[in-house]
Subunit: 205 residues, 2 copies
């Protein structure tokens, strides 16, 4: 049914690729690209190293595949920010979705953080090709809201940066947050309330 070459991936192929990517997400997000080893990934996937290299062309291939596949999930909340909604509500729920993501998908957050920290050597093209257009589109949307007087005058680009940094902080710097906050009953709830208040204050016309 698909284009070009017909049915390509067998059932077992699909399962093993999934196992490998799941293990790789774990290992890469914990140790970074160069700190991760194929042996670790293989052990965690329950496969042998050569078997892993049967499914992927090499370490870099696994890493790039991971990053590309997760990019969509990662950008979902931003995509969901809609011109139809009420500006303040749209932005505030974007903040909440992003914060939930940091809580539910911390490995993904750290994977990206690691890659960007190293200068984005392997996903720069993806950033330019996918993220940049989406970013520009949403900045334009915010600018339009401002022009319509539905938001106070603010810098769309840096607003988005602030949303990204404050929310992802809880995933990327989790070990520091844990040390500084001590045992907490519900850290997420407090972070959520704080960010809501902060961005509400900023978005008041």
């Amino acid at each position: 049914m698909p284009d070009g070459a017909p049915k390509k991936t067998s059932r077992i192929q699909k399962r093993n690729r999934r196992l490998i990517l799941e293990a790789a997400l774990d290992v890469f997000s914990r140790h970074g690209y160069r700190g991760a080893t194929l042996d670790q990934i293989a052990a965690e996937a329950g496969l042998s190293k050569p078997n892993i290299l049967y499914y992927f062309d090499g370490k870099e291939d696994i890493h790039v595949t991971l990053l590309s596949r997760l990019m969509d999930t990662w950008l979902d909340p931003l995509v969901a920010m809609s011109p139809q909604g009420e500006p303040v509500a749209e932005i505030l729920s974007y903040v909440q979705r992003k914060l939930n993501m940091a809580r539910d998908l911390p490995r993904e957050s750290r994977l990206f953080a690691n890659e960007i920290l190293q200068g984005a050597p392997r996903i720069a093209p993806e950033l330019t090709g996918h993220l940049k257009p989406l970013f520009d589109e949403k900045c334009a949307l915010i600018a339009e809201w401002i022009a319509q007087g539905r938001l106070p005058s603010l810098d769309p680009q840096h607003l988005i940066f602030s949303i990204w940094s404050t929310t992802q902080h809880y995933a990327d710097f989790e070990s520091q947050v844990r040390i500084l906050m001590g045992p907490e009953e519900d850290p997420h709830a407090r972070a959520s309330a704080h960010l809501r208040r902060m961005f509400e204050a900023m978005l008041r016309v």
Copy 2:
């Protein structure tokens, strides 16, 4: 004059240790702990690898020494937040100092970010011993300001997290920021203005 063992470090020893730490800061901040190699550090310091191991006990020793030495510099702006000043002004200038630091010392920022991302395996003690008491002290100060009605009710801990994340973002995620912003005349000035407005709004009683 100092305690215990008298003059220990010779002139040449001081120079070489400085060269090594400078090179190590560069390499570690670009590639992370496991991604950095002693050969790279040696080459960048203009020394041979065994010569480096004459001055430090090993790779980890260099890394830990770096982190400990930079910790003080890194926390300076927070230390400077004073009970004597006016609350809003104190916090706003803390934000500015922190942002300037991200601009002037991006390597230091990335070094710490890398370490925290990996779970702070080598500076957890330093965080518990030095950062935590300072953090608690400043949170208490902010809480007092709130109790005195000089600041609106807000969460001191998460306020500090927000300041850290938004400012350090420009150092740690610099490659992404550059891709998304394109060539900019003065990126720092816009970021500075944005953060000032954001925290001003939040701190209005």
